[in-house]
């Protein structure tokens, strides 16, 4: 359990290291630890998807991916350390000084997040969807394969289910269970639940910072009220409920990380819609969202459209619409691929056709 709890900060540190590969190229003034963690979350999953898909579509074992990804993480961490150690050192000294000046703020934010974490991580929840999502991780680990067996029953599937093929978020869970020996239930229901919750709150913090400036008490209050709303905005369909009970489902991350993240980026774009960095960030989030859940392929373009249209009108800029369209291309491609699969145009088998298993 202790190792499990320790993995939450380990995840965040890993995202920070991955994110630094992008944000570390910025000036010291623009470099932000929280934004780096958020970027890193999406960079991490974008990079993970590449070896995962290659190995999965070649019917190779999960252990291969685990070993390869372990090595890749090591290499990426070393590269990031070499490239960014100076900016990290400078920034951590700066942030330590800021936190010392605003102790009450730091303590209040930590308390707000920790209290909620303790409550949700200690609770037992029965949800039907876990029978698929968590069991998928357990099944992949048990069989040393990826998405080849039906998580509900354990029976062999003759083709990959397209809804979950490109959304490799659960396979990352399985890889970490393989690498650490942690049980999938502990990984999905405690470690990733905690990690996702913290990331979600980092996004609230960033949004509050954009809206309130440096009024720390207002930021703390907004985080507090966001917690209250989440704990009371409950039906089985609300994103709040998904965040507090079902983070092992990628779609929960769409509702609680990706959509707020897109809103955050549009708040930044509202200040400067010509800034290429913000558009690249939006593209990264859109691309990363496709790896978290198939639901992103419709939800993310819709969110970008809803936010992009008023921005384009207000700024009288066609380029905003073009940029929005470019950002959601990964979602649209996968959406069309899914339609093609549903219409029976193609299928990815779990065994090569020449072996005659299907």
């Amino acid at each position: 359990m202790l190792m499990g709890i320790m993995m939450i900060p380990v995840n965040l540190i890993l995202y920070f290291i991955f994110g630094s590969l992008i944000t570390g190229r910025q000036s010291n003034k623009d470099f932000s630890i929280s934004t780096t963690v958020l970027s890193g979350f999406f960079v991490y999953y974008c990079l993970f998807d590449i070896p995962c898909l290659v190995i999965m579509l070649n019917w190779r074992p999960l252990s291969w991916l685990g070993n390869l990804w372990g090595v890749m993480i090591g290499i990426i961490c070393i590269i990031s350390c070499i490239l960014n150690h100076k900016i990290w050192k400078d920034k951590f000294s700066e942030v330590s000084a800021v936190l010392c000046r605003h102790k009450a703020f730091a303590i209040s934010v930590a308390a707000i997040v920790l209290v909620q974490l303790v409550i949700i991580l200690n609770a037992y929840q029965f949800t039907l969807d876990a029978a698929y999502y968590v069991a998928n991780v357990t099944t992949s680990l048990q069989t040393n394969t990826m998405n080849i067996y039906d998580p509900y029953t354990g029976d062999w599937l003759n083709h990959f289910e397209m809804r979950y093929l490109f959304s490799t978020y659960p396979m990352n869970d399985a890889v970490w269970c393989y690498l650490t020996g942690i049980h999938p239930l502990l990984w999905t229901k405690t470690i990733m639940a905690g990690t996702a919750f913290v990331i979600s709150n980092i996004i609230y913090y960033r949004i509050a910072l954009e809206l309130f400036g440096k009024k720390t008490s207002a930021i703390s209050l907004m985080l507090f009220f966001a917690g209250v709303v989440n704990f009371f905005y409950i039906s089985i369909f609300t994103s709040s409920n998904f965040m507090l009970t079902r983070t092992y489902e990628g779609k929960s991350l769409i509702g609680n990380i990706v959509i707020p993240m897109v809103i955050y980026i549009f708040i930044k774009l509202n200040d400067d819609h010509r800034k290429g960095r913000n558009w690249r960030f939006l593209f990264l989030v859109c691309l990363g969202s496709t790896i978290l859940s198939n639901s992103a392929n419709m939800l993310v373009p819709a969110t970008v459209a809803v936010l992009g249209l008023p921005l384009a009108v207000r700024k009288k800029s066609v380029k905003v619409i073009i940029n929005c369209a470019l950002c959601v291309i990964p979602c649209i491609i996968l959406l069309l691929a899914y339609v093609g699969y549903v219409k029976g145009l193609f299928v990815f088998y779990t065994y090569p056709p020449l072996f005659g298993k299907h």
Partner: protein, 299 residues
């Protein structure tokens, strides 16, 4: 939203969807009220960030025509509620509440207003643990009985992948903990049985053995024991896990199943047959040998 369809509800679908989505919460109404407030009293930035996107959201996502149109392209019935996540209810409400509080001058006023907002939010919402807070029994966040049942089955079985049918909750949780136990019934089939969708005709004539097993253990139907045993054979089911209070225990014993273990509220039965095909994982080594690209890397 399993029961709500665009085909049946038409333009009313969105209103029913919002009703299901909100449950007992008034927060969507608060969100609309917050947008109105921002329109009337908000700054230019607030309007740009929340109001105009909010209006576009209301005109599109919450538009009765939208789900009808999308449903002609994709089956959106069960998933449309996810579009409602686009409305940033949590962000808007928490932002405005914080803004009102910090505008107050004295600490006392701030505390009173914070408490007032908390009461309003709590009173007009549904608490996550309104039906009680259940502390997880272990690090797996699984009832202890799931672990015990898995142990009983593995201790009894002489092969790696035994196959079982369990009561509803156990069936949904067992493979999350132990994926080496195969389950005969998947989620949809089980939900159909619980909803009473297995008819007499299906029990009598259906070739699907799963329906017969569900008919017995979920619906308590006393079908001919030979039919039940054939279903157990056809589906290669070796274990049945029932609630202690299930009235079908006597039926199972009469059908030849043997009780092999008990936990606090569950009984585990074993069916022994010479016809059971033991599940083994397909062997991919031949595939790997004949593949060029990754085989080179493997070597």
């Amino acid at each position: 939203m399993q029961t709500l369809t665009v085909a049946e509800s038409g333009f009313l679908y969105i209103f029913k969807c919002i009703g299901y989505y909100s449950g007992g919460c008034l927060y969507l109404l608060f969100y609309v009220a917050a947008l109105l407030f921002i329109l009337l009293k908000g700054s230019e930035k607030e309007k740009a960030v929340f109001f105009w996107p909010g209006i576009v959201t209301l005109l599109t996502v919450f538009n009765p025509v939208t789900p009808v149109v999308i449903n002609t392209l994709f089956d959106i019935n069960k998933e449309y509620y996810r579009f409602l996540w686009i409305a940033p209810v949590t962000l808007v409400l928490s932002y405005l509440a914080a803004k009102f509080v910090i505008q107050k001058e004295t600490i006392g006023e701030k505390i009173v207003l914070t408490a007032a907002f908390c009461m309003i939010l709590a009173g007009s919402g549904v608490y996550l643990y309104s039906s009680g807070y259940t502390k997880a029994a272990n690090i797996y966040k699984m009832p202890e009985e799931v672990l015990q049942v898995a142990n009983i089955i593995h201790n009894d079985s002489d092969h790696e992948y035994p196959r079982a049918v369990c009561d509803y909750n156990m069936n949904m949780e067992l493979r999350q903990y132990d994926a080496s136990i195969m389950l005969t019934v998947d989620r949809e089939a089980y939900i159909n049985a619980v909803a009473g969708k297995i008819t007499d005709d299906m029990l009598a004539y259906d070739e699907n053995p799963v329906n017969r097993i569900l008919g017995v253990i979920v619906m308590g139907r006393q079908i001919p024991k030979s039919d039940f045993i054939k279903a157990m054979d056809d589906s290669n089911t070796e274990y049945i896990v029932l609630d202690h209070y299930s009235s079908m225990q006597y039926y199972l014993e009469k059908a030849g199943l043997k009780k092999i273990g008990e936990t606090g509220t569950r009984v585990v039965y074993k069916y022994t047959s010479n016809n059971t095909e033991v599940f083994t994982l397909p062997d991919y080594s031949e595939v790997w040998k004949q593949q060029k690209f990754l085989s080179l890397w493997q070597n």
